[in-house]
């Protein structure tokens, strides 16, 4: 059965099509949207094409390379720690510890910055723009520089690594937190404020419960990510998994590389499983 034949609404609409078109021209005109959409898509694709050309991408090289890739993977099998299993485990533990402390402290310090950088909390342009640029600077300064700065303060060792992680992660957390705050639903805030709550209380009760899950997931992600990359930790002489990995890569010990990667993968998986449990504990059971 066709809709037009039976549906009163469709019949009505067909009857009034011309009038509706005249009365609501905007509703029938997609041109602006389509043109803008097409222009945006063209810009994205066009820039990508230019980049491919500028950076000497070659289909042929890719085609030939894929085969070689397989051959190289064979050299990684079987993954083996050689005789360094214990060294690797220790290095991994060091890395996890440093990443944990660094991420935790960074998150705590970044918390107030997140609020200061959010436009809906601090309407004053100078404050939130200033704080944002400050956070940009923290992130923009290379981790190697942070490492050097802290090495000259506290010497070589894990402490310098923790400090360096803290500095660059404050920049990232501050930005991410502020963006979570800006996206929060305003209605609960109105509920609190209308009951005479101060602005502070409005943020504490209206916004915080909404953004805590987001913040927790970001912090856990960075914890995981710091555990994984751990370059800073290596630079400042705190040991960690980065050094054996870099060494194995530089000397093409591919079986060890494979083993290290698998080991990190296991740790990351564990962190991921724990973190999603924590996250759901914080979010709680979603309602309808």
């Amino acid at each position: 059965m066709t809709a037009a034949a039976t549906s009163p609404l469709a019949a009505l609409a067909a009857e009034n099509l011309d009038r509706l078109r005249a009365a609501h021209p905007a509703a029938f005109d997609d041109r602006r949207r389509l043109v803008l959409g097409a222009a945006a898509a063209a810009a994205v694709v066009g820039l990508a094409a230019f980049a491919l050309w500028y950076l000497d991408f070659s289909i042929l090289a890719i085609w030939n390379g894929v085969g070689r890739l397989g051959g190289f993977l064979v050299l990684m099998i079987p993954p083996s720690p050689d005789r360094y299993l214990w060294t690797y485990l220790q290095a991994m533990a060091e890395t996890v510890g440093i990443a944990y402390l660094g991420t935790l402290v960074a998150a705590i310090i970044a918390f107030p910055f997140g609020f200061l950088a959010a436009r809906n909390v601090i309407p004053n342009v100078f404050v939130h723009v200033g704080v944002r640029r400050f956070l940009d600077t923290l992130r923009g300064v290379d981790t190697l520089i942070w490492a050097l700065i802290w090495v000259s303060v506290v010497g070589l060792g894990p402490f310098a690594g923790v400090l360096a992680i803290i500095c660059s992660d404050i920049g990232a957390f501050g930005k991410l937190f502020s963006e979570a705050i800006e996206t929060a639903d305003r209605r609960p805030v109105e509920g609190v404020i209308s009951a005479g709550g101060s602005r502070l209380a409005g943020h504490r009760f209206g916004i915080l419960p909404q953004i805590v899950p987001v913040m927790v997931s970001q912090v856990l992600y960075y914890f995981e990510s710091n555990t994984r990359s751990a370059t800073i930790i290596g630079i400042v002489g705190a040991g960690g998994i980065g050094i054996p990995l870099a060494e194995a890569i530089r000397t093409l010990e591919l079986q060890q590389v494979a083993f290290l990667v698998l080991m990190i993968l296991v740790v990351v998986t564990v962190i991921d499983l724990v973190s999603s449990r924590i996250r759901f504990a914080v979010i709680g059971k979603p309602a309808h």
């Binding site: 060294t87 490492a147 090495v151 000259s152 002489g237 050094i243 054996p244 060494e247 000397t251």
Partner: protein, 285 residues
């Protein structure tokens, strides 16, 4: 020994070397040995970047450090007051090594002259044997790397530079070389990672050396000049005694390839400093 109150703990800072065993395996025994000899705890710090070692020494936070020749020069040039103590003497009797330029044996390139306009693979900007030395010594021989070769690039590591040559990405590659049977190339071959573009394993005979630098001294173990004289002397003595007092630890430290430590003074590194200065100046011209 009054210095023990001032220095209840010493730091030994090293950077990873591109060798078979891991860095802690190599230097762990040395730190233990020094602790025993000096009677204070010596903590080993493996930093992945020598810039961090230099900053730690500048701030007085690391008292003993192992440098490569170029990074020692860098530390001195940027104002760290250092006394070099010892360098190792290899089994072949030398206290240093060379930088070489390889080509493939099946290529037409016989001398450096044949490489005009060709592609050279360097290691990375900070490498002594893979960048600083070839630049300096090639220039001295009349071949400026930037103008003589058609293109030069950093391959990232010593192994990568050799691989680039093996697979035809480059026509020549700079690398380090100790002796006929002891070089980065021989190590790669032993491990079986050196294959050509078609995936066939390669031999030492497949490569030819077309250029060899002057002798480069090994990197020294150094201490802060500001340390008390008697402490410095004790540390130096401990190093000199290590091969006899702790042969096992010394074997680990040197992969069994070195004979002993010999003392060295600042002047030995003047050529290296000159080399680094030359390269710095060449950069802006």
């Amino acid at each position: 020994e009054g210095w023990k109150d001032q220095y209840p703990e010493l730091s030994l800072a090293v950077i990873p070397a591109e060798n078979a065993s891991t860095t802690t395996d190599r230097y762990g025994p040395l730190a233990d040995y020094l602790s025993k000899e000096l009677g204070v705890k010596v903590t080993l710090r493996v930093a992945n970047d020598y810039a961090a070692v230099i900053e730690a020494q500048r701030a007085g936070n690391a008292q003993i450090a192992m440098y490569g020749p170029a990074s020692y020069a860098r530390a001195v040039m940027t104002g760290v007051e250092l006394d070099p103590l010892v360098v190792p003497r290899h089994s072949n009797g030398m206290t240093g090594y060379f930088s070489v330029v390889y080509v493939r044996a099946d290529s037409a390139y016989k001398t450096i002259e044949d490489l005009r306009g060709k592609t050279l693979a360097l290691v990375d900007p900070n490498s002594t044997s893979g960048n600083n030395a070839p630049r300096f010594f090639l220039d001295r021989a009349g071949y400026s790397v930037d103008t003589f070769f058609g293109k030069s690039f950093f391959a990232g590591s010593h192994d990568n530079a050799v691989l680039a040559l093996a697979q035809g990405t480059a026509d020549a590659a700079a690398n380090s070389w100790n002796s006929e049977d002891d070089s980065n190339l021989t190590r790669m071959i032993t491990k079986g990672v050196l294959k050509d573009a078609a995936g066939n394993p390669m031999k030492k005979e497949d490569f030819r050396i077309v250029f060899k630098s002057d002798f480069l001294p090994e990197g020294p173990f150094s201490v802060l000049s500001a340390l008390p004289e008697d402490l410095k002397a004790q540390i130096k003595q401990a190093f000199l005694d290590m091969p006899s007092k702790d042969p096992k630890g010394y074997a680990a430290l040197s992969d069994g390839k070195d004979k002993e430590f010999v003392g060295i003074d600042r002047a030995a590194f003047d050529p290296i400093i000159e080399m680094v200065k030359f390269n710095d100046a060449a950069r802006k011209s």
